[in-house]
């Protein structure tokens, strides 16, 4: 093909490719704007999702830690109560199990003391919380004694976690 026939074809081709390039660039520019808005939205969603994941991991860790602490089979509370001085012997003792619905349950021991020093009862709670499988104070009712200062009728509910029976 001669030069004077080739040149117009080359020019047309170049023009066509240049026009395609420019119009494609305009389209890409527009798409980039849209993508940036979308990325901003995704970034915000991702930040929320990361927060949720961290929160969820913390819940999982707390659950695992609590279960690890309570996985021991030894029930140390009963021997500890047996060793308490006579003044601290419970007048009434009841036990109940509150299932958590996921194969675990609260095991709650309710102890009723008729007229004991309140400080001693608090000391008992401290001791129970320091056991290798700690017992936690789930509930407490204190009614001050009308006769002896510092004494009172005390109901303690101590609980620990254990696999549901």
């Amino acid at each position: 093909m001669s030069e004077h026939k080739r040149l117009p074809i080359l020019s047309l081709l170049a023009l066509a490719i240049w026009v395609i390039g420019v119009s494609w660039s305009a389209r890409t520019w527009r798409q980039l704007g849209e993508a940036q808005a979308r990325w901003g939205e995704r970034r915000a969603q991702l930040a929320v999702m990361r927060g949720l994941a961290e929160e969820d991991a913390a819940y999982g860790a707390a659950q695992a830690q609590a279960r690890a602490m309570c996985s021991g089979t030894a029930d140390l509370l009963t021997p500890m109560l047996a060793l308490c001085p006579p003044a601290m012997r419970a007048d009434e003792s009841r036990e109940r199990v509150e299932p958590l619905g996921d194969g675990w349950a609260w095991r709650v021991r309710e102890l009723v003391f008729e007229d004991v020093p309140i400080d001693a009862a608090m000391g008992l709670v401290d001791d129970a919380e320091r056991l290798s499988t700690p017992w936690r104070l789930r509930g407490c009712e204190i009614r001050a004694s009308a006769h002896t200062a510092g004494n009172g009728q005390i109901t303690l509910a101590l609980g620990t976690l254990q696999p549901a029976p």
Partner: protein, 457 residues
């Protein structure tokens, strides 16, 4: 016929050729930035043939006898519109059809009244062919065909600018006294008015052209002489004397007047002064100019092609990067969503997936609450602290009840605000605390009940 305006870059080195009878006068011009160096060369110099062969332009000219220069006014300002209308107006003013001519329009200027002023230059193709044939017979094939009057005018201004000391009045006539012709280029200040072929001995004709160009009011004229005839000053003196009664003449002879036109053409070939033109157009266009134009078109096409391909490449890359970045976002997001919601996620994406994950985490929060309570229990320490606070502030506690989410303390205080520290303590533990009081008893103590409740998650 095609029209080629000025504004083209024809080259950095060029030649001007003036045919004086059978004698060829050549001048070489070389442009270095804005400076043009001129050197007269012999017609038998091998260098000019070698440089012309390499594509350096050789400029010749058509005289006023074979061409016309005509100022035209059109009532538009838009350049494209003006350029469309000008040929029609020129056609009306020409004594022969425009289709038989090569033409150009120069010095387009806008007037305050909304009109555009342009100088039309035209020559019949037949005259151009005859002129070219004369040059070819003399051994040179001109690349460009300029207009003699314009070349004389602009080069005279270049060598002796308007307003220079000694130039005198603003009306200038550049007179070319050639071997076989004489030409006048007339203008005022720096503006070209008209060009004419004359017989210098015909004083009446010269006066007529002067009056037509500058009017009757001007009477002082600077004559700038050039051409081989200007070397012997006899003719100049005679004309000045003949014009004497009517015109006050100041005479100046350009340096080396015999090569003046060749110098003018050479300079205009390498430097666009806004007044240059090329009447060798269309089918008469020189092959080297056509090749040069072809090269420029090819270069522009290749550049456009390269730019287009580069843009396409950049777009492919940018699109890929955008998709890749979006996919990365989606992937990370989906990873979190799957780990949180598992199979409950289904096909949900975006906000929907986030909602499902929030629900799942809320479920987990509820389910893990007993475990978290177990771990963070203040238990007995909390109660002991409350008892300590009560003792420190002289409160008499009568009853106290505590559960995992509720604490209440009842008793009596020494004054209305004495139980407030208990409220502060419960609030410090994260409970929502409130106090209820009753009217003071006869012993001046105030019964109170402080209640703290856990804030719902």
């Amino acid at each position: 016929m095609n029209r080629t305006g000025s504004g083209m870059d024809w080259g950095r080195i060029g030649y001007g050729a003036d045919l004086q009878g059978d004698r060829l006068v050549l001048c070489r011009a070389e442009r270095t930035r804005a400076r043009v160096t001129l050197a007269v060369v012999g017609a038998d110099d091998a260098r000019w043939r070698e440089e012309a062969g390499r594509g350096c332009p050789v400029a010749a000219c058509v005289g006023p006898r074979e061409s016309i220069t005509q100022w035209i006014d059109v009532g538009f300002r838009a350049r494209q519109k003006v350029l469309k209308v000008l040929p029609t107006v020129l056609d009306i003013q020409l004594p022969f059809p425009l289709e038989e001519c090569a033409y150009d329009f120069l010095a387009l200027r806008h007037h305050g009244d909304g009109k555009t002023h342009a100088l039309g230059v035209a020559a019949r193709l037949a005259d151009i062919e005859r002129k070219l044939a004369r040059f070819v017979a003399a051994g040179v094939d001109p690349t460009l065909l300029d207009q003699e009057g314009l070349a004389l005018w602009t080069h005279s201004l270049d060598e002796r600018p308007a307003g220079d000391a000694g130039v005198g009045p603003s009306v200038r006539v550049v007179a070319y006294d050639g071997v076989d012709r004489a030409t006048l280029a007339i203008g005022v200040g720096a503006e070209f008015r008209s060009a004419h072929a004359v017989r210098l001995e015909d004083v009446a004709q010269v006066c007529r052209f002067l009056r037509a160009a500058v009017g009757d009011s001007a009477r002082a004229v600077t004559w700038c002489w050039a051409g081989p005839g200007a070397a012997g000053r006899g003719g100049i003196e005679a004309l000045a004397e003949a014009l004497g009664p009517e015109w006050t003449c100041t005479v100046h002879v350009h340096a080396d007047p015999g090569t003046f036109l060749a110098r003018a053409l050479a300079r205009r070939a390498v430097q666009d002064d806004g007044w240059r033109c090329n009447l060798r157009q269309g089918r008469l266009e020189h092959a080297s100019l056509a090749r040069q134009r072809g090269r420029r078109t090819r270069r522009a096409a290749v550049l456009a092609l390269a730019a287009g391909l580069l843009l396409c490449g950049v777009n492919v890359g940018a699109t890929w990067l955008m998709r890749s970045r979006t996919a990365t976002f989606e992937q990370v997001f989906a990873g979190y969503a799957r780990s949180l919601a598992g199979s409950a996620l289904g096909a949900a994406r975006g906000e929907q997936a986030l909602l499902i994950c929030k629900r799942r985490v809320a479920d987990h929060r509820r389910a893990s609450r007993p475990y978290r309570e177990y771990l963070r229990s203040e238990g007995g320490r909390g109660l002991e602290t409350l008892l300590d606070v009560a003792a420190r502030h002289g409160l008499i506690l009568e009853a106290m009840a505590a559960k995992s989410d509720r604490v209440s303390v009842g008793g009596r205080g020494t004054d209305w605000d004495s139980a407030q520290p208990l409220v502060a303590r419960l609030q410090a533990s994260g409970l929502k605390a409130r106090i209820e009081r009753e009217p003071a008893l006869p012993d001046a103590t105030v019964p109170f009940t402080v209640t703290g409740e856990a804030v719902r998650e």
